[in-house]
């Protein structure tokens, strides 16, 4: 008998022999403090939480300003910048040719290549933003893969303010319907550790800096 049959047979036998554990309140309504159901409250919550997590938040009126902000953020960086193929990012580059120029050289490099370890900054779009926890969520299929958001020391995320949600429920619903992704991640601030004497240090293995360029207005 193989291990699978052996384990399952045993579990099934015990399942019959021992009564189920009582579980009186399986369904859960709201258990958490959460933002009110309007855009303003969600933005307030998000701003407060994201900044407390040491995220850098740039709220920009319109796409041109957002593009300018990104150019400014990456202008002084050593090494190349990797940008994900994403409709919003495409629009920002059409808006500002200087940004497209800056990014042109790096676009070619495949993030599966070994030189990718030298990448100074990854730019990706977000699936959604979670106001309740100040998190950015993304999935591998729509975020330029798995490495782009974690290997470079600096991660820039671009999102529209319409992508701001309360918490994870709507995103989960979307994930379940989409069959294209292999990895989905909830990112709450730049990488951190407190393994040495509980002292908080940023930039453990993931990005040291996490910036969100939030496009508001039209």
């Amino acid at each position: 008998m193989n291990a699978r049959e052996q384990i399952l047979k045993r579990l099934r036998r015990c399942r019959q022999a021992v009564p189920d554990m009582p579980c009186p309140s399986k369904e859960f309504g709201p258990l958490f403090f959460h933002p009110e159901d309007n855009a303003e409250s969600r933005l307030d919550w998000f701003r407060e939480k994201f900044i407390a997590l040491r995220g850098e938040l740039y709220e920009e009126q319109g796409e041109r300003q957002a593009a300018q902000r990104i150019l400014e953020l990456i202008s002084g960086l050593p090494g190349f910048v990797q940008v994900q193929k994403h409709p919003l990012l495409e629009r920002l580059q059409s808006e500002l040719p200087a940004l497209r120029e800056r990014l042109a050289g790096s676009r070619a490099l495949d993030c599966a290549s070994p030189e990718y370890a030298q990448c100074a900054c990854g730019i990706s779009g977000a699936d959604s933003l979670l106001a309740q926890s100040g998190s950015i969520v993304l999935r591998s299929s729509a975020a330029g893969g798995r490495r782009l958001s974690v290997l470079p020391p600096f991660h820039i995320v671009v999102a529209a303010s319409s992508q701001l949600n309360g918490f994870v429920a709507p995103w989960f619903a979307g994930l379940q319907q989409d069959n294209s992704w292999s990895l989905a991640s909830i990112i709450s601030g730049p990488s951190r550790t407190a393994d040495i004497e509980k002292i908080l240090v940023f930039g453990a293995h993931g990005p040291k800096r996490l910036a969100l360029v939030l496009v508001t207005g039209s």
Binding site: N2, A3, I7, L8, R10, L11, C14, R15, V18, P19, D20, M21, P22, C23, P24, S25, K26, E27, L31, F32, C111, A117, S133, S135, S140, S141, G145, R146, R147, S149, V150, L151, F167, V168, A169, F172, Q176, S180, W181, S182, L183, S185, I186, S188, G189, P190, S191, R192, T193, A194, D195, I196, E197, K198, I199, V201, G203, A204, H205, G206
Partner: protein
């Protein structure tokens, strides 16, 4: 004798640590900062922490009750996602499965993100024995790996080491310039492991949750090392205990904040990652192959025990370790097991056998602090009593222990018997007082000259006479 051996060395290690003031100071400092963060987060995040615990306990108990069905559902979905699922009845089978994968894929280097199941099956030693270089990538785990120690704590593996000690260790093993600055030390680990992430062929993780409806593995972490472990190498192996199952993706809405709050006092940890298989077509990167190893290793024996089954609902947050006065005093290494503290004391005898490990059931003051903090409301201190009872029934407890309790049960319910034995008790307490170590002499409580019931009878007699 194995039994006495493990028990005796446990007592020895406990005594040494209990007397080590500098150890005590480090642990209290770390736990104090944990306590502050956790209390604040419970209040600021949850409308009612108590209600959240009740709901979490219900969801997880339901999941564990339905374990066989949910595991089959998980397996079917995972296979659909292109994951190879391997079942392992014990630690040896799990190790063999990982070694087979490593051999078949010509693996020479592996990176591992923090995982307690791989500690449980002692995977590092096995991989090294076939010549695979294995890197622990969680900072705390790297520290204990370099020091050739076990993790001290299931969430904070290097809690027992000071900055200065870590600085000295890094200087000696990695050649880092001598420093006690936490930021510089973290940076040194980052630089040291970057190369490993990019060159390793195999990435090994545990699983914080398994989602049955999606066939997905969920990992929660702060450093990004689990993200890198599952992004760079071409093979990903997740070693998961069978009890890690949750029925639905939506359950994470409660369990991720619950685990983060109880584990480290955060609302959410920095990275919460849901992985359902290797790289898909159309994705630019990710592992070509993914394996999930479903580990039993004694869990199905716990499942068979009606009262102990609830211990399978544990989400390994470590809150009971931090709350336990015994753990705080003797520390994580005294237990000599992958899982120390109250939860470790409950499950270890079932995972590794009662004869050698039942002494852990007594490594508790039964104060109930562990049960009070448990986010899924496991009555840990009662389960420790249950284990003692189990040992008694299985006759694996020592003969003196059983004889003593037999005598106690025979005598105690009868007042007359107690009365008759009283001179012996008195003599016993006096002898104990004389035999006590010098600093305890005079502090051993003595059995009173006359018992309460004798005094009461006197009192009654006087009252009726007057």
């Amino acid at each position: 004798m194995a039994l006495a051996g493990e028990y005796r060395s446990f007592l020895h290690r406990s005594c040494v640590k209990a007397a080590d003031a500098s150890h005590h100071l480090k642990i209290l400092k770390a736990i104090a900062s944990y306590d502050t963060a956790v209390e604040a987060m419970k209040k600021s995040q949850f409308e009612s922490w108590e209600r959240a615990r009740q709901v979490a306990a219900s969801v997880k108990r339901d999941a564990v009750s339905r374990l066989p069905e949910l595991l089959e559902q998980f397996e079917a979905k995972a296979v659909e996602n292109g994951v190879e699922v391997v079942w392992a009845a014990d630690a040896a089978e799990a190790r063999a499965a990982v070694l087979d994968i490593a051999r078949a894929n010509g693996v020479r280097q592996a990176v591992k993100s923090k995982s307690m199941t791989t500690e449980e099956i002692e995977l590092n030693e096995a991989l090294e024995s076939i010549g695979v270089k294995i890197w622990e990538t969680d900072l705390g785990e790297l520290i204990v790996q370099l020091a050739h120690e076990r993790p001290y704590h299931i969430v904070t593996p290097a809690m027992h080491k000071s900055r200065a000690e870590i600085g000295e260790l890094f200087h000696r093993t990695l050649g880092t310039p001598l420093t006690d600055n936490a930021e510089e030390l973290t940076q040194a680990a980052r630089v040291h492991l970057r190369e490993a992430f990019c060159s390793a062929e195999l990435g090994i993780t545990g699983a914080n949750f398994l989602i049955a409806s999606l066939g997905a593995v969920v990992l929660t972490e702060n450093e990004g090392n689990a993200r890198l472990t599952t992004a760079c190498p071409r093979i990903h192996v997740a070693v998961a205990g069978i009890e890690k199952i949750l029925p639905r993706l939506e359950d994470l809405e409660l369990f991720l904040p619950l685990l983060a709050t109880s584990g480290t006092g955060q609302q959410l940890t920095c990275y919460n990652t849901i992985i359902r298989g290797p790289k898909r077509s159309g994705e630019p990167d990710g592992p070509e192959k993914m394996y999930v190893i479903l580990l039993d290793n004694g869990r199905s024996s716990i499942y068979a025990e009606e009262k102990l089954r609830v211990s399978l609902t544990c989400i390994r947050c470590g809150a009971c370790l931090n709350a336990c006065p015994v753990y705080r005093l003797i520390g994580g290494h005294a237990y000599n097991t992958a899982y120390p503290g109250p939860i470790g004391s409950v499950i270890t005898p079932h995972l590794r056998g009662f004869p050698g490990w039942q002494h852990m059931s007594s490594a508790s003051s039964l104060c109930g602090a562990c049960s009070e903090v448990c986010p899924v409301k496991i009555d840990l201190h009662r389960l420790l009593l249950e284990n003692r009872w189990h040992a008694h029934r299985q006759r694996t407890s020592s003969i003196i222990w059983r004889l003593g309790f037999w005598a106690w049960a025979a005598v105690y319910p009868h007042r007359k018997c107690l009365q008759m034995l009283q001179p012996f008790f008195r003599l016993g307490s006096r002898l104990a007082g004389l035999a006590a170590p010098r600093d305890l002499r005079g502090r051993i409580p003595q059995v009173a000259g006359r018992s309460f019931s004798e005094l009461w009878q006197d009192y009654e007699r006087k009252r009726t006479n007057s």
